[in-house]
Symmetry: C2
Subunit: 449 residues, 2 copies
């Protein structure tokens, strides 16, 4: 199929995995910044952070009760309680003034430092007050053993051990640990700024009333939301012009402030598919490296641009066709070293192109080492009838039930069907071939957020 389209722009399909590798090899993190500890959640750590002390830093009581010498109460029981003289009380944050000698106890609160001499804590609920020769005393009613309810120094962490390494997505538990070790600020990878453009003269702004034959540009907002979800900062640039020279100007302007560009639409074989024309021009330029610094022909580009301001001069097309459905015209290039993703304008294909290529790229730009979606195995609930010469990505629901993982295909076969996109939990991978997939068969699913 597609012979005309392929020959028109000399487009050769690469496999999804190869396309992903081409992107990941070309991309570097955009930078590092410091954020307040709690604001690091969801960001990616930019360096290895270590324990700055042993943890706990001192022997700590695990609960409220009495610090004792375990041997003193080794045989205590409700019937034969052991009575100990209470010589001090220590709250969390304090240090006991008295040493625990045989026959004595110190009242202690959760988290307080153990007094010298004590090696066990008896919980308050296993004691009763007692009078002993006019002094304060406590009756221990349960057998104790040395070490009980005491956390020893270094039990959880040794000073210098790694807490988390570069690329780690920071979770609340990391925040707790890093706060414990005194990290009031965290070095995290900066958020990439991502310019989002739509193409197509049929597009109206979202706020505009409908006109005959025209539709609203809803993809830009969807993609902007996905950029933000991926940790990027979207900048909506609206609609690209229809002429290639004006497109180059718009992309050049965007490159000055963005780390990455996403265009939506105009990548197919239509007569007005401006991104397809531009990518084809880029490939021609790349093939003619020696002519790179010459102005482009008036005919193709419409006007002469200064080469230094023209990203087409310093561009490299990574791929301009992918062996997949939907979204086979999805393309990627580097413009002055920054990634350009040209997604399909069809909402379903745009969505799949983002998940397979853009989200991993944005995560890599934030230092994630292994940003590709990890497939999981699931049992297919419904037959997928139609085969395809290309690997197919079918939106699906993931159902965890009765200890098993099920994938339920959504709106199979209609990549334009927008209604089911919000319901999708994953992309079900249907291998290329004439057969589709049988109900009950094992399939691979790429989870989506």
């Amino acid at each position: 199929m597609d012979e005309r389209g392929r020959s028109r722009f000399n487009r050769r399909a690469v496999k999804v995995a190869d396309a992903q590798q081409l992107i990941l090899e070309a991309i570097r993190p955009v930078g590092v910044e410091q954020v307040a500890l709690w604001q690091g959640c969801g960001r990616r750590l930019a360096q290895t952070l270590q324990a700055t002390s042993d943890w706990p830093p001192f022997a700590r009581s695990g609960l409220d009760g009495f610090a004792i010498r375990g041997a003193d109460a080794a045989h205590a029981s409700p019937e034969h309680p052991v009575t100990l003289q209470v010589i001090d009380a220590v709250a969390a944050g304090q240090v006991a003034r008295q040493r625990v000698e045989p026959g004595t106890a110190v009242r202690i609160m959760t988290g307080a430092a153990m007094p010298e001499g004590a090696d066990a804590v008896v919980m308050l609920e296993q004691t009763a007050p007692a009078g002993l020769a006019g002094q304060t005393a406590v009756r221990v009613k349960h057998a104790a053993r040395p070490g009980q309810n005491v956390a020893l120094p270094g039990e959880e962490f040794r000073c210098g051990s790694a807490i988390a390494g570069p690329g780690t997505v920071i979770r609340p538990g990391h925040i707790g640990l890093l706060g414990t070790f005194g990290y009031a600020e965290l070095p995290v990878y900066a958020r990439p700024r991502v310019a989002v453009f739509a193409t197509g003269s049929e597009l109206l702004p979202v706020a505009a009333p409908l006109e005959p034959g025209r539709i609203r540009d809803s993809n830009s907002a969807m993609v902007a939301a996905m950029v933000a979800q991926s940790g990027g900062e979207p900048v909506l640039f609206g609609r690209l012009p229809d002429r290639v020279d004006a497109v180059i100007e718009a992309l050049t302007a965007a490159l000055a402030e963005a780390d990455c560009i996403i265009t939506i639409g105009g990548v197919s074989v239509g007569d007005y598919d401006v991104m397809a024309i531009l990518l084809s021009e880029m490939k021609r330029n790349h093939a003619l490296k020696s002519e790179l610094m010459k102005p482009k022909s008036q005919e193709t580009l419409g006007q002469t641009l200064e080469p230094s301001s023209d990203p087409v001069c310093f561009s490299k097309v990574l791929f301009d066709r992918v062996a997949m459905r939907p979204g086979s015209p999805t393309s990627a290039a580097l413009l002055n070293g920054k990634p350009l993703f040209a997604l399909s304008g069809n909402p379903g294909a745009c969505y799949v192109g983002f998940e397979l290529f853009v989200r991993p790229a944005l995560h890599r730009m934030q230092g994630e080492l292994d940003p590709l979606p990890r497939p999981l195995e699931a049992e297919l609930t419904d037959q997928i009838r139609k085969g395809s010469p290309h690997e197919r990505y079918v939106r699906c629901k993931l159902i965890l039930n009765d200890g098993r993982v099920f994938a339920e295909p959504l709106a199979f076969g209609k990549s334009s069907m927008m209604a089911s996109i919000p319901q999708a939990d994953g992309l079900l991978v249907v291998p290329s071939g004439p057969e589709g997939a049988a109900a009950g068969s094992r399939v691979k699913v790429l989870p989506v957020p």
Copy 2:
């Protein structure tokens, strides 16, 4: 167990599910605000939004090719192509000037409105250019049928049908749909402002060097991160004073600007557990409704406060003990109608208390109808030996492998073990009883973000 603690503050344990119901019944959404379309992602919709037109709004071509009358090419084949006269071209956004009559075709781009008379689109790749009596013509090489590659008006949505209802968490796919129907702004539930306090004189600020017997307040930052993760806006208030009267003053001040208060620590049976003392005072006040407007006794509260500024006067304790491990002293109250959560100061118990009670509450404050974590079934990888008189929540990893769901317990039995909190995917529910749970047995897990 716990006889002394229970009797001291007259605390009666409620079941987790009952505690959750008490919270959810007491909480209302905090308000509604408008946000730009793409910024609605992850927020919760505050009203039902409907399709504002049929979708598609007109008959659209699904791809690039030629709009024809399907009957004209019903028997076309590569060997016997059908030649049609090309009378017009229509790009997306345009409306064809010509009607397609038998024997004619209109060049059409993806997404363009179908010309009158045409009922099918033949893809460009299944055609070849042809000359017909000096005019432009096209050779159709594959059989066509009426309706092929055409999306009919209203095929996906009927005008007025609901797209999403109140409380729906907005995903990128919703953004796309809502943009299609012209929603440039979305009504979403406002983010609750959440005051976070820590208690305990042992606590140092995160940035401070360690001192003997003291530790840094890392829980506040962890909880702030969890608040933000739950859609709330955390405000870190630092350490609460140690005296109950000063605590009341601090909470009163926080109530003026926050929709919810979280305190961490000081809820147990220790002599300095200021939140436990305060909650006990609240319960006493509530029991003596007729005395509500009287100043509190000097003895307990340290100083006389104006009743109108004193949230203890207008408070109701929802629960001050939960039948669970860890975190049994976890408490909740209403202060002037706003929720107060008093979490345990132990990091593991603080974490569990947040997931079971605070996260659902914050989601409900943002209009979510069913905010409780939904348990899923998993197969336990390792034996959990020790039983417990209370239901236990053990942090675990969730592993989806080979189409099955496995739960691997983490750091079992040590609620203070912070090291494993960042690794947790869920809380494994071990029912109360003497036995624990056997490896390979089916367990319930509450997923955590």
